[in-house]
């Protein structure tokens, strides 16, 4: 009989995690033993970002700004205060500046240092936002990057690139799409994509 552990259930061991995954477990074990980490608190943090906090929050802010001029003015004047009032505050949302796209200016956001991002409004950044390519090229050749994202700017539009830091995070207020007159904030929110709020997309009108 051939010697074959793989098909012998008595010998099948648990799937071995990758080296960095094992090292993270080791770090957590060490810090928990030292009383510096509460595993329940870690679970709570993961749950929040996996299920509760994401771009839907930011989309509600944008849709409200499109339909409520007083709120929009407040949002542009003091982003942190305006989004906090809607319940979107906390980690990495302490200093939020909202920048408005117009027919003259298209804004896009990057973090050239690491991956600073307004978590309470957009959740955890996608891999491309964290990639070296985006972090380097967004500043150097924003129009080429935008073209790759499928964004064609108006000939009149300049591009402004905002570099996030631990102290300041940015949210783009996209232009309200054509053909959405009379729509409510609740109807508009699904039209606001994550990319539109990072400035690597635009808000698109409802499909006819």
């Amino acid at each position: 009989m051939p010697h074959d552990h793989a098909h012998d259930p008595d010998h099948a061991h648990a799937v071995l995690p990758s080296e960095p995954a094992l090292r993270v477990k080791a770090l957590e074990t060490l810090l928990t033993e030292k009383g510096l980490v509460d595993p329940a608190a870690l679970d709570e943090i993961i749950d929040s970002y996996q299920d509760k906090i994401g771009p839907k929050n930011g989309a509600k802010v944008i849709a409200r700004a499109w339909t409520d001029p007083a709120f929009k003015a407040a949002l542009l004047a003091d982003g942190t205060a305006a989004v906090s009032e809607m319940g979107f505050y906390g980690r990495q949302g302490e200093h939020v500046t909202v920048v408005e796209n117009t027919p003259e200016v298209h804004n896009m956001v990057v973090c050239t240092l690491c991956s600073c991002y307004p978590w309470p409004l957009l959740g955890i950044p996608p891999a491309w936002y964290k990639s070296d390519a985006y972090r380097a090229r967004a500043v150097r050749e924003p129009r080429a990057v935008l073209a790759e994202f499928g964004v064609t700017l108006l000939p009149t539009q300049k591009v402004r690139v905002w570099d996030s830091t631990a102290e300041m995070r940015y949210l783009v207020l996209p232009m309200r799409p054509e053909g959405t007159e009379g729509m409510s904030a609740a109807e508009l929110a699904p039209l606001v994509s994550r990319d539109a709020m990072v400035g690597t997309g635009i808000a698109r009108g409802p499909k006819p």
């Binding site: 259930p9 008595d10 099948a12 061991h13 648990a14 799937v15 071995l16 995690p17 990758s18 080296e19 960095p20 995954a21 094992l22 090292r23 993270v24 477990k25 080791a26 770090l27 957590e28 074990t29 060490l30 810090l31 030292k34 510096l36 980490v37 509460d38 608190a41 870690l42 679970d43 943090i45 993961i46 970002y49 996996q50 994401g54 771009p55 980690r91 990495q92 240092l113 690491c114 991956s115 600073c116 959740g123 955890i124 996608p126 891999a127 491309w128 936002y129 964290k130 990639s131 070296d132 390519a133 985006y134 830091t165 631990a166 102290e167 994509s193 994550r194």
Partner: protein
């Protein structure tokens, strides 16, 4: 939309660990971004990082660096070995625990 926030469980675990330790006052978030930015730069010299596993590998390196003095590297290495062995010694489907843990 619909993309998972984290593509591997250890990314999520590492993220949570870092946020938790910063909130507990072991380091400021500003110091964290400096340390992490430096780790990304170092790791990005040899190859362009794609924002996935390699990004979190740099993150782990940065966290160990900023915890220097709190979490000893030799102890982390020893516990990593113990965890590896625990997985190898555990029958598939059973919960994996450290001996005596």
């Amino acid at each position: 939309m619909g993309e998972p926030a984290f593509t591997a469980p250890w990314h999520a675990q590492l993220f949570a660990l870092t946020v938790h330790l910063s909130e507990a006052g072991h380091f400021s978030w500003s110091d964290w971004t400096q340390t992490f930015g430096a780790a990304l730069k170092r790791n990005g010299l040899a190859k362009e990082l794609d924002g996935g596993d390699d990004y979190f590998a740099a993150w782990l390196e940065a966290l160990e660096a900023i915890l220097h003095g709190i979490a000893d590297g030799a102890k982390i290495a020893a516990l990593t070995d113990q965890w590896r062995q625990a997985y190898l010694d555990t029958t598939h489907g059973e919960p994996v625990r450290l001996p005596g843990g």
